[in-house]
């Protein structure tokens, strides 16, 4: 990583208030002036930079022994360094930090910036969160054995919520790629008949599409020598197309404007990317 780092983001740095800020122990005033931003979590700030498509270096200060930085090019996380760690490992280490101080520097020349992180930022944040939960879970394991059945049911609900969050991430990724071409989308657990995530859609529509595929599957299986494959494509009026994909335990229903986004673009570019993300998260 390199890049020509020259210019601080003066507008969002307020050094005047430094004296009023509670300082971490053992940090000198000079040290703190290097990291004038505070009050937001690392994750929140990363999301703002990604959303604003900034090209910058975000420096992070936890304490004198724990510092590092993230490198963004047009909102995409390219690299991170934290002590001896770099790339994804460094990013996941720092995402978990709380009560940090930050500084942001603009990168004026990105020609020498090498990309070392391919994973989507949202995925990294979820993976970091998962690791943190695992650590907490291990610590609480002995206590958990003493909990009653009701608590275990609560844990199942939480697991369900985690799965929903992951699927929401997939739909958000699709929405980001397709822009306003994406009219509606939903993801259903086929065997449970449960709508897990939806975008501009409602559970009734998603369930009616599930009934449709169940009807088609049963019809093919019972009345013909063939089995239904893994997708249906329907041309709809008003320049819309409905694509239904059956991937393992999940059914994806996607309605999009076929003028703003071609079927070929959806099938060959967008869906492979979304499915790759979906698989990387080990959903189901």
């Amino acid at each position: 990583m390199g890049g020509d780092v020259q210019k601080d983001f003066k507008l969002i740095i307020d050094n005047e208030e430094m004296s009023n800020v509670p300082a971490p122990e053992a940090a000198t005033k000079e040290e703190l002036q290097r990291w004038p931003l505070f009050g937001l979590s690392v994750g929140s700030f990363l999301q703002v930079i990604a959303m604003e498509q900034q090209t910058c270096i975000m420096e992070v200060y936890l304490n004198t022994n724990n510092t590092g930085h993230f490198c963004f090019v047009e909102g995409e996380l390219y690299d991170s360094v934290c002590g001896d760690l770099n790339g994804e490992n460094a990013a996941m280490e720092m995402i978990a930090w709380e009560n940090v101080r930050l500084n942001i520097k603009q990168i004026l020349n990105t020609s020498s910036v090498d990309r070392k992180i391919d994973k989507n930022l949202m995925l990294l944040m979820m993976e970091s969160s998962r690791r943190r939960d695992e650590v907490q879970e291990n610590g609480e394991h002995a206590d958990l054995e003493m909990e009653d059945v009701e608590t275990l049911e609560d844990a199942e609900v939480v697991a369900d919520d985690v799965e929903r969050t992951k699927l929401d991430t997939c739909l958000n990724l699709m929405s980001k790629d397709m822009g306003d071409a994406l009219r509606a989308a939903s993801i259903i657990n086929i065997s449970a008949g449960k709508v897990l995530a939806f975008y501009n859609d409602d559970p009734d529509t998603a369930e009616s599409f599930l009934r449709l595929t169940n009807f088609m599957k049963t019809t093919y299986s019972n009345e013909t020598p063939f089995e239904l494959g893994d997708h249906l494509i329907m041309d709809l009026k008003d320049q819309q197309t409905l694509v239904i994909l059956m991937i393992g335990e999940h059914q994806w229903n996607i309605i999009f404007n076929n003028v703003k986004c071609s079927l070929g673009m959806l099938r060959n570019i967008i869906m492979p990317k979304v499915i790759r993300t979906f698989n990387e998260m080990n959903v189901g």
């Binding site: 509606a184 859609d201 009734d204 529509t205 009616s208 599409f209 009934r211 449709l212 009807f215 088609m216 019809t219 093919y220 009345e223 013909t224 063939f226 089995e227 239904l228 494959g229 893994d230 997708h231 249906l232 494509i233 329907m234 041309d235 709809l236 009026k237 008003d238 819309q240 409905l242 309605i255 079927l263 070929g264 099938r267």
Partner: protein
């Protein structure tokens, strides 16, 4: 309906799809009776897809949306079926999806046979 022109539609289809063409069938939507079918046509499947079209139209009402010119059903293995509902008629075209590119089917073959079939129906 001009039967000779309908047969011409089938000829266009076979010619455009080449070895990727498997079978084709045109049925009446009202009673599911077959009007025209090629040798390999699976009549049972074509009739069932007539019911499927009614099911699809109903399912789309909840969105709400209306079915357009066609729908495409992926079948496990090498086959796929293009279904073209035309009011009183429904045309099913079974292809070898390994040999027929979806883009060719939807952007080249489909518009050509829809034009030819509309001509046959009004004649």
């Amino acid at each position: 309906m001009n039967i000779q022109k309908v047969n011409v539609c089938m000829d266009i289809l076979k010619k455009d799809l080449g070895e990727g063409f498997i079978a084709s069938c045109i049925i009446m939507t009202e009673d599911g009776q077959v009007l025209v079918a090629t040798d390999q046509a699976n009549i049972a499947e074509a009739t069932l897809l007539n019911d499927a079209t009614a099911f699809i139209r109903n399912a789309l009402k909840t969105y709400p949306a209306e079915l357009g010119q066609y729908y495409y059903v992926d079948v496990a293995g090498t086959m796929a079926v293009l279904v073209i509902p035309f009011g009183d008629y429904q045309w099913t075209v079974t292809v070898n999806k390994k040999q027929v590119k979806l883009g060719l089917l939807l952007n080249v073959v489909l518009p050509a046979i829809i034009n030819a079939f509309e001509d046959a129906v009004v004649s």
